[in-house]
Symmetry: D2
Subunit: 335 residues, 4 copies
């Protein structure tokens, strides 16, 4: 039985807590959240966990693993303390908005030798996974290029934008990760354009709401990304992988399978609008993989190094957008 503490009782913290509480290998012992919210109390009641502070968690020698799902500004310190304590770690992305900190913490965690899994949940989604497996199996032939679309249903609140780290670090980071993951190699060149075309509030907060990115991989293959803070029909998360024998698509998952037809044609339901619902299965798979990593040493699909590398591309995209020039990246590149 793995004694577990979860940091963060927000939306994603709740998802992980419920998945952990129903996992037969986990005993969810602590929930840590500085805000004494009703949600925190309900979550504790529902899962049978204690509400505690970080010091209590790190003082408890029975704790073997932590889930870090608190606000981004706390990740680095918690990663630090957890790796020192020798805990297995599952950390939500991003590690920090400051790339130097990301690099430093990654080094520390890796040196500590603890197992650390990063929350790139798309890697655990059955759709993206099926595409990855199909490529890995050789059935699709050689992957030649990738096109990805990530659009939010509606612009986030200005308050969210201001503490999000910006669209590249907050939203596009999943696409940077997926490009590396599917191509199976590092990206060496990033070109990005971006602008505030949709919501002036986002611009006032110093961020963009529309971006297009072109990535070139070490072996010379390409990935193209469209990122946007709005899609009129809802949450838009798609991928197209052109391989030599097949083209593989991840399409959106509709809310239901009802079609309504009239003189205007055939109207199918919009996609699931909420990442909590859209990726429910992926989040559940993450906890299963986390347990497996702890119990058997099996490598997770994404580790802290993947967090570092995806963020390096986000930083390069920011530099490219600001300078108007493509940016060449290598393992030593920093913004």
């Amino acid at each position: 039985m793995i004694n577990l503490a979860i940091f963060g009782a927000g939306r994603i913290g709740c998802v992980h807590a419920v998945n952990a509480a129903t996992n037969p290998s986990i005993r969810l012992k602590y929930i840590v959240d500085p805000v004494a919210s009703e949600g925190r109390a309900q979550l504790a009641a529902k899962t049978g966990a204690f509400v505690a502070d970080a010091d209590a968690v790190f003082a408890d020698k029975t704790i073997a693993a932590v889930v870090i799902a608190s606000s981004t500004d706390t990740h680095a310190e918690l990663l630090d303390r957890a790796s020192e304590a020798g805990h297995a770690i599952f950390c939500e992305k991003p590690i920090s908005f400051d790339f130097a900190t990301v690099a430093e913490v990654t080094e520390k965690v890796e040196r500590s030798g603890v197992a650390c899994m990063l929350g790139f949940q798309r890697r655990y989604d059955p759709n993206f996974r099926k595409v990855r497996d199909r490529i890995a199996s050789g059935a699709a032939g050689r992957l030649e290029h990738i096109v990805m679309h990530s659009r939010d249903p509606a612009p986030p609140l200005r308050s969210y934008v201001e503490r999000s780290g910006g669209m590249f670090r907050d939203q596009a980071i999943h696409d940077f990760d997926m490009a590396r993951y599917l191509l199976g190699e590092e990206i060496v060149k990033v070109y990005a354009v971006g602008a505030c075309l949709i919501d002036p509030e986002i611009g006032a907060a110093g961020d963009i709401d529309t971006a297009m990115v072109t990535l070139t991989s070490k072996s010379g293959r390409f990935a193209q990304m469209v990122n946007c803070r709005r899609a009129p029909f809802g949450y838009d998360q798609r991928l197209e992988a052109l391989c030599s024998k097949e083209v593989l698509y991840v399409r959106n998952r509709p809310r239901d399978e009802v079609v309504i037809a009239d003189v205007n044609g055939f109207a199918a339901a919009p996609p699931m609008n909420d990442f909590i619902e859209r990726f429910a299965h992926a989040y559940s798979e993450e906890i299963t993989a986390f347990v497996e990593m702890i119990e058997t040493g099996k490598k997770p699909l994404a580790d802290i190094r993947d967090g570092l590398e995806a963020q390096r591309l986000a930083e390069a995209a920011i530099v490219s957008m600001r300078s108007g020039q493509p940016v060449e990246v290598d393992p030593s590149w920093r913004p």
Copy 2:
């Protein structure tokens, strides 16, 4: 070069005339239509054919073939005269609204030995044909049952209904034919229900606008038909063939490939609304097959006997609907 006469300069007559006129093996010599319409004149001008009457056609010894696309009440006599004259015949369905006449003319034409092809254009449509070929190839396994939907975009005018022969003879006849064609055997039992649910004008004309039919084949397999004079989105012509290894579907062909997405979901275009456009390719293939039948003796996909047998099922459906009981049919059955 085949010297051809076409009877009928209405919508379907025009389609055949244009297809015939552009066929390199055909010389379209005469257009026969008792109505001195502008359409008739334009068609003659466009195709270089003469406007003539039936007597002139049958007096011309150079004529080798006729297309009968005039009104249904003229079919029987024209079939009679054309078969006596030894012409190859392409006749639109139905042969007559009177089944005794249908049977009699079919016998005469067959005895005359002339080649006679019937206008069941769905057999020449690339979609229905692909399904038929897939079944014939064995790839789909054994055909076990069929479901067919035929719905018109909107109720026809009362004047059309009154001279249509009724929905079973006019519209459902294509489904009766397709059931026989795909099953590759005769139907031995017909059960039909029907009512006027949509347009009271149709009821006032003594006809129905909605029907459901269950067919049992000689070997005990089933086909189900839905027939309707209205589909809110347009012309609805679909088929589903359940086979032991595959299910084969003919879906509607949309008008275009534009999708419009908004908060209500994804709206795809309605199907092609007009049988002239929907079956344009099939009509063209019919003329090609007609030429091939004349030049090489190749059997057409549908002959006059197929017209007789499909209509027998239409007559049985009418009897079943009126009596409320299933009707057993065999080659000697008559209404």
Copy 3:
């Protein structure tokens, strides 16, 4: 807090037990299953319920509600005892394979005044419900006819077939129910054909694997059903409701949203193959509705009378198939 006992620890019993155990208004006190299986023990451990026998349940005066998900031959007696005990009841269909028993038990339960909900889970499925709501709202116009497809992924084992009550009572009963539900009135005429076309083992067990049914409602509208024990691609549960302004479709829910394209075209995933997964949401909604029925008196979407009426149609279909004639049904009709 509602003290609940569940009868049956098979597949569907487990689903209800887990949903009940996580419902905040329910205390799942007893699990009753005569077979001392590992599943029963695990279910008890997982839900914190006691394993007990029926006598213990009915002796416990704190019990307020029962879920009857045991084998069909036990339903009638349990309905009887539970209604005598004044418990709220949620019973899986069918009530009994013997129609006289169904009718008798329905009378008893209704006389007893207990609230009794029947497990027609499709009524709680978001897709079928959306169609029902759309019709009820008037947006679709008047419902004119319905077409339903129910096909199992593969023929069941002969042992299952032998105790299933036959395809009409076991599988098609959901379609009989849906026809009544959507049309909002009773069916007055049933015509059914059926045969064993697919699996000789089913025929050897005295059952059929393929059926087609035509229903006529009191007001003269129609519903058509296709029922089959096999669909080559998996579980096939579809509906098409033609209304005066719209056509409403329930399509299958695919397993995933990956499309694989190659020279043969675009291959989309097969539908969810398992009713437990396909209707997971509906089963969860059923328990929510059961609690609501108990706590607020809100009528469930399906009650025991709906079970009786759907089964009457199944019995009529059997008589029709055997006699080769349509069967007229009214509230007094019995096989």
Copy 4:
């Protein structure tokens, strides 16, 4: 009646000749092709036109219009002679592989005052046109960004590649044009990456087979292009326009509407593989528009200036790809 000469009796020349010959306002008088092919002879026979050389055409004072569908190296001279002769012109793209020549000829033609329409047939395709009209109507809201996919079914022959002008001028030019057309303003910045990833023969010919392009418009909006010489399933021509109220998609048009379902899922037909078939309707609309331009002075959807501007973007993409840097373009930019 417009007396017309067509230059070029290759595939696209034939399409235009047949469309022109069946247009009631056109008399197709001459077909000019230096190669004495069987195709040229058949085309002449089919359309009733004379085979002639260019001098004969320009000597004939009854000629009012020319279609230039000959090889690209002849376009500039023919445009020159035709504009001097005062003929209305319909010219296939590109005008020349040499940008200085394109610019020079464009100036000459414009100065001459003759009406000159350019063969960007996608503008006449009902799908792209529906998207354009939807945007123009305001129903979709403001266009914010565009994503385009253009993939050929299979790499062309090396001999074709060598005389094609390269992928940007030959294939991607349609996307450059569509970006300008939909955005309704000029592009001011072009970034392109490209490589030979698929067919080494293309690389040996000095060309690329895969490219990704990012365009920034004057007002700061974006368009993204994927161009490729192979798609495993066939001809891939799609567009996605994100607007503030709707997303508009042009999808591929499938060859047929048959779906084959088995245990692997649902296989829909691949798209029409051939641009002649895919754009058959667009080519026909072009000739109609050409006649309308001549008879009524109505501006065509694409004129020679559009040819110049699209090619400027193709040239900028080539420079960008070679330099690795984005290229800023304005009306005076030249490679």
